[in-house]
Symmetry: C2
Amino acid sequence: MAKMSSPAETERCIESLTAVFWRYAGKDSNSSTLSKTEFLTFMNTELAAFTKNQKDLGILDHRMKKLDVNSDVQLEFQEFLNLTGSLGVACHESFSRSRKYTRGALGAGLHTNPLSFQLPSHHHLLMDHTYPEPSRDSR
Amino acid sequence: MAKMSSPAETERCIESLTAVFWRYAGKDSNSSTLSKTEFLTFMNTELAAFTKNQKDLGILDHRMKKLDVNSDVQLEFQEFLNLTGSLGVACHESFSRSRKYTRGALGAGLHTNPLSFQLPSHHHLLMDHTYPEPSRDSR
């Protein structure tokens, strides 16, 4: 097998986000989706900066319902992507406002706005889009 | 200012993907979007594993047109997210098929399928969704 070169940052991040999903989704018998318990563990571990100061205990329940577009009380990978995408938009807007980027600055901007991924309405397009059920037959 | 704890993997990846966009978008005078030239530089640097064996030189032109949903010959951040999202889906499917994940395995799977981000039709929902123009007025 040919030796692989080291992946670039973008490739590495995409792979990491996918791996994170599988790591948390694999905690129960349904290893390809995030249950509500797995979602809460994910949020409180991987996005603790956004959740730790949250006083409204129902906010994560509400977020899960918004992400769960097919209402099966599980998050498929495409539904999970909507969360990461909307957080990316929040990061992007944070940087757009400051117009000065240094490593960590985006995180810092978001740290001061816990759960700032509750985005303005036009970004809810990222959240509200209905993906069809994954199916081999639909390919 | 309170000392920040080290960000978790998910937060770091989201921030990195945002930073990568700004790094490439900032190469010309319009620093908030990717021009065609900037997109090609991004693809050939950050996703070289997918482009290096590509014989069809028009494929990146075609991909840019598909991503550029508002046809302004620039990629806004939301349009860029559709690319990373669809690559995430490709990673996810690669892992779903193999059912054994080790670090680098997803990359390896994709390396063998250059431009495997040309996804089956139901994933084109990720590509074909029309985002409104970013506007401060629409918030």
